[in-house]
Symmetry: C2
Subunit: 778 residues, 2 copies
């Protein structure tokens, strides 16, 4: 838990340089534009604690995974998001002393992430070891409008005396990954060109052979007058630079406007990369810093228009939710269905930058609710495109006949994680991917998605479940052996209820979808049956038998579904009875002790109850919540959000608030002590869910939107916006009323507090909030 | 399955060079003397397929283990047995063409491992590319009497013309491990000295800093007349050599007698290693090749005198069992209680050369039965010495108060394997170590072992079980969650019967031992109680409660103990119904499929039934055997032996024979297609058990020795010898009689076919064999 940043509604502000927290700051001050991203590293040299990180969407390296005892079915590689070329570098020497915040005396330091306008700003005053005082103002952004482009305006002023500045502007593609084994490097130079004021390095990744051009172009000004100093170019492997000198009189200010371009072979033919990089640089330079920034700010204005959440009366909460929304929108813009959302986005190396089930379970609702249609749909198309690989993945594990097992972790559809208990067993992910399709259609009403795309994916997944389940002669029921649920603190258990529930649900939903497609798209259906070699009668007969005879672990006494077989053999001691010194258990306990314990990492039984809440009465939900929540340690950042929402459903509003806080400022306050590795991007979408579904009480059941707003007493009001089908709604809640505004012309049917309303286009509906929905947090 | 070696009673013979099987031959032709060992590599250069391997007992390297997701409690390293300096090298050039069996034309090739006399012999005739024909006779052994010393007599004859030989005798410590990551090297040079006719390289291991001196000293003879040719020395890092030339007339024979010495800091101060290595070389050279070999042969005569098994009428079976006994005696001589038996002995790198539970479960009975007292006892002392490390290992996993968890894999008492399902969960090993103590005392009657040694180990292990077991409120019984049994095709199961049974047995036995030590050694007992902070009343109260209320999974219908909870939910399809194309499943199936299946890798429930057979009636044993054996795939080399013995107990003699064959010639016939990695040393001890306990029907129950000999019809007779307490017995079985000879002066009580006998010193007892005990193998 850290508390060194200022609370501010729109900005993340650091005053005074907190060198020991610098890696945390680098994560928090990350910039991204969906196509590339970078940690908040400094332009000038910095010899203090730092994790250098620049990332290019979709560019990865297949690292070796072989170690210990190989298990059949393991993938050959573990995908790594690659630290890519650094284009921001501007090194400064004043009278031969390097400007370096780790060695200079820092008189003043201000750093701001401006979330409203999407830029990073630093202002600082330092005294170098030779007594020269410099004032620096640096502003940087990655253009949302031209995602191959970024820009920096870097101003250096001689404060106390004349001095000679030596400036080096460079591109350095000779970078490493912190997590590389044996310091292996992953980039090889393809070509480079450097001239006065500009240069490009094209490098390719080993094995995967992605080509990426990284370029710079810059102008310099002395007190706003453009300079044309003699420039010396230099180069070495994977590196180019421009060096020049400028004498500053006391009070003079040197400005460097540096444009960066990152151009990858994911978007251009390899042979054109060099040219395209120079073209991108030219585009940026011609427009100029101010115009680029202006367009960028306009983009962000529009983004906030549809996705902002406003909290009045609680600056910390306000800052927290905006930071989450800001990072989500920086990470994924939804314009490319080959891209997805890594757990750390563009903010660090961890989790390999790959796609997890986080996407369907946590991220999809955010993009459904706040972005235009294609954005969320592209997340689904991503999986549809990878169906063949999922079928191959299933085949590697011995499944047949088009059974699809989507990978646990992937870059391109192939599995790239190799712990058997996760890779082979955490198969509930397959259910999440099926649920994503259902959720998308339920929310958008876009049933047309099914015939060309959804059907095939659902069929593949249903075929997997059908083969993965076996009949127990002993029980005379179907069972699912050897799985790991969302609660990864259990491995290789039998009959994890959530997984079995997802399986039976998928089979049931797929049967519905089959009926729908056959009826509505008979010709397409015939084609699909042939393409997929679908033997409907035989295959669905087994599905129906499974649906009818599936075994679910159930405790008669408590009337709850059990997380898995044998769960009640554990010692059931609530988390709050564990000594603080033993928490978090994933740091304090050995793995076997965790496995034997009853403690739950993140929602497991409750994940299903959240997803299928309409199948459970409030009493049933409460029984499950009251049994499982007290033994849940929430050691996954994805855990609190589901609990926040369920707590709201059972009117335990204080818990909703408590869980919401735990997720909303997770990174800003470094609650899990790991923000230095990067921000928890996918759990940020969970924060949004916790807000909108928890406080707003929003849900969509059988296509009908409903709300049940609640408000903590310490807030004055809050508001959020959602897209729902063709409508744009704004919901403002204070302690007296909830206002529903329809900013579109589309009529919306909705329920609030269980009562039906018709909200016409551009109409406002004011509904009183009762005392019951206003709650004290103490 | 290979079949390129000749069947011979005392020799392993290869006629004609089988280059493609050379790595298999290198494993089979390995030499060892308990202190060092080496694969059957060639002295001359060989550019064909080869795994170079020289190993020094106790010398290992802690390799990195970090990969993927770290689990708390993992060890920091994975111990690797190190490929050490090669001292055998003698490179030969004839008229500048290198003698290399991979490139020369091989006219004749004969290779012999002489198991009776413990040497390796090669005779071959080759024509080099320049037409020169050479005849080579090479004889090599590692002295059993002076285990720092080895010797080679290498003769080269010019067969068809005069030629000039260039000879290089060298020591090469610049070696690598095949299994090293990124080709890392593990040795660093400390110093070296080379003179005419001798030289030493001292190298140290990285991290562990073992120092090993490897030296050579040689003499040369032309047609038996000693030569004193000018010698040129050369050296480079970690390498020294002597080079000389000799012109051979057609028919001339050059003989090189090369002595090797391997001297390690496990036995001498580091500063003396160089000197001690030269001293060892001098010892060898002064004695000379013939005298050294003579003493070596005498050692083997004595070894065979106590450990030989003779089979008349089946040369393949005879060769098989002798090969097993020979390798076991080469690997462990029992003179150093810091050493133990790695699964591959000195024959390969695999399994890191470390100690597994194989020692107690499989190897101990062999050394108890065939070697003098201290040999087997040293295997127990090895664990006693490592008790503190086992307690620390327990602490790392969260156990307290002196609870000892012995490592799954170890070199020095520390755990050095890191797969959670094995390292943390395969805890039945702790029971095997306790059982080893019981077994030793049961066999030897040496109860005196308990007070100074056994008690503490048993207490530590019992404390572990007591903490590892928890009370299930649901069952109102004690349970053991999250374990992996000997059947590693199941992971993280609940209530593995074998493990729970070992736990309850350990607690029961420890209670007995406590009573014994208190009564017989009251003063020592008081000291031990204090030293171990043993709170007898409280601690044993819980043990007794566990003994009384332990839960064991039981199938009422079949009246068998179940391998674990939920076992009957699996599809129980016998192995013989699996298509051949799907076997072995560990190569054909994905890991998750193996885990979900019913298939058993090696005896699990049956391991306990074997160890505690007196607790089970023949019918009970048969019920368990008939249920489990058909679903056992025997994909561990340790599996068939236990099944061979149990099959004998239930009079399924054909199965005994079948399983015996599967283990006896496992390496000679390369049955598992992996002999090239090294021989299965620990399973060789299982072969001995299968023979003596299976065919001989030997067991020791409550200190009483008994036999139930059976004989396959295709054998004429067989005999084996055992030490039992102070007696030396020889048992000869043919189809009419079993003869029991007592070669000592000590009276022995024994039972044969359930009838009691007193066998006086130097007496012979002849007992008829009934038709029932003679069986057809068809």
């Amino acid at each position: 838990m850290k508390n060194y940043l200022k609370h501010n509604e729109w900005k993340i502000v650091e005053e005074g340089f907190h060198a020991s927290n610098n890696m945390i700051s680098e994560s928090l001050y990350s910039l991204g534009n969906g196509r590339m991203g970078q940690r908040g590293n400094f332009e000038e040299k910095f010899t203090g604690k730092s994790l250098q990180g620049s990332y290019v969407a979709g560019v990865y390296y297949p690292d070796k995974t072989k170690v210990g005892w190989w298990k059949n079915g393991y993938p050959e590689y573990f995908a790594k998001v690659l630290n890519a070329a650094n284009w921001i570098g501007i090194h400064i020497q004043a009278d031969d002393i390097e400007l370096d915040l780790a060695t200079a005396k820092v008189k003043k330091f201000y750093r701001e992430l401006n979330m409203k306008e999407g830029f990073l700003l630093r202002e600082f005053d330092v005294i170098l070891s030779n007594g020269i005082e410099l004032n620096v103002v640096a502003k940087r952004f990655l253009s949302m409008n031209d995602p191959e482009v970024g820009a920096i305006r870097y101003k250096v002023k001689a404060v106390n005396k004349d001095c000679n500045l030596k400036v080096t502007c460079f591109i350095d593609a000779d970078v490493i990954n912190k997590d590389s084994n044996y310091d292996e490097k992953f980039w090889e130079e393809v070509r480079k060109e450097v001239r006065n004021g500009e240069g490009v390095v094209v490098a390719s990744t080993k094995k995967t052979n992605f080509h990426v051009g990284t370029g710079m172009k810059f102008k310099t000004f002395l007190n706003d007058k453009e300079l044309h100093n003699p420039i010396e170019s230099s180069e070495r492997e994977k590196y180019i630079s421009n060096n020049f000198s400028q004498t500053l009189k006391k009070g003079d200010e040197l400005t460097i406007e540096k444009y960066g371009a990152v151009v990858s072979s994911e978007y251009h033919p390899k042979k054109d990369i060099l040219k395209k990089t120079f073209q991108a640089l030219d585009r940026a330079a011609i427009k100029g810093f101010d115009q680029l920034l202006k367009e960028h700010i306009t983009y962000w204005e529009n983004k906030w228009e549809t996705s902002d959440i406003i909290i009045e009366g609680d600056v910390a909460a306000q800052q927290g939710i905006r930071f989450n929304i800001f990072q989500l929108n920086q990470t994924y813009t939804g314009v490319d269905d080959r891209l997805n959302i890594g757990p750390k986005g563009f903010t660090g190396e961890k989790y390999g930058g790959s796609t997890y089930w986080d996407t369907e379970a946590y991220c999809l609702p955010f993009y459904l609710g706040t972005a235009e249609g294609p954005v969320a749909k592209n997340l689904l198309l991503y999986r549809h495109k990878q169906l063949q690989k999922a079928i191959e993945n299933g085949e590697k594990l011995g499944f047949k006949n088009g059974a699809a097992l989507y990978p646990m972790v992937t870059m391109n559809g192939e599995e790239c994680h190799n712990e058997w208990e996760i890779t082979f067993e955490e198969i509930h992910r397959n259910g999440a991917i099926a649920y994503g399709i259902f959720n998308y259609i339920n929310y958008t009403g876009d049933k047309e998605y099914l015939a060309p795309y959804g059907f095939e994916v659902l069929l593949g997944i249903s075929r997997f479940w059908s083969q993965r389940i076996n009949f127990s002669e002993e029980k005379q029921q179907y069972v699912m052996l050897g799985v790991t649920g969302p609660n990864e603190y259990e491995n290789n258990v039998n009959n994890n209820w959530h997984t079995s529930n997802m399986a039976v649900w998928t089979l049931t939903y797929t049967l519905e979808v089959i009926d729908y497609v056959r009826k509505e798209h008979p010709y397409l259906f015939k084609e699909l049956v042939e393409k997929c070699k679908f033997h409907e009668v035989e295959e669905t007969a087994r599905w129906k038998d499974i649906i009818e005879k599936m075994y679910f672990p159930w405790d008669k006494k408590r009337k709850i579904f059990l997380q898995q077989d044998g769960f009640l053999d554990k010692e059931l001691i609530p988390v709050d009875q564990l000594p603080a010194s033993e928490k978090p258990i994933n740091q304090k306990w050995s793995w076997d002790r965790i496995l034997r314990s009853c403690y739950i990492k993140q929602a497991d039984v409750l994940q299903s109850i959240f997803w299928f809440e309409e199948n459970f009465s409030k009493e049933e939900t409460k029984r499950h919540f009251d049994f499982y929540e007290p033994i849940t340690v929430h050691e996954s950042s994805l855990s609190p959000c589901v609990h926040a929402i369920l707590a709201a459903r059972i009117e335990n509003y204080k818990k909703t608030y408590e869980f919401y806080l735990r997720t909303a400022r997770l990174d800003l306050d470094d609650i899990n002590n790991d923000t230095e590795d990067g921000c928890h991007i996918t759990s940020m979408a969970g924060t949004w869910m916790a807000f909108v579904m928890g406080f707003g009480g929003m849900k969509v059941s059988k296509g009908t939107l409903s709300f049940h707003p609640i408000i903590p007493e310490n807030w004055k009001s809050y508001s959020f916006k959602i897209n729902f089908r063709k409508a744009h709604l704004e919901i403002v809640v204070n302690k007296e009323n909830a206002e529903f505004m329809n900013h579109s012309t589309e009529k919306v049917h909705m329920e609030v507090f269980g009562k039906k309303y018709e909200l016409f286009g551009n109409q406002k509906q004011i509904i009183p909030i009762s005392k019951k929905e206003t709650f004290s947090i103490n």
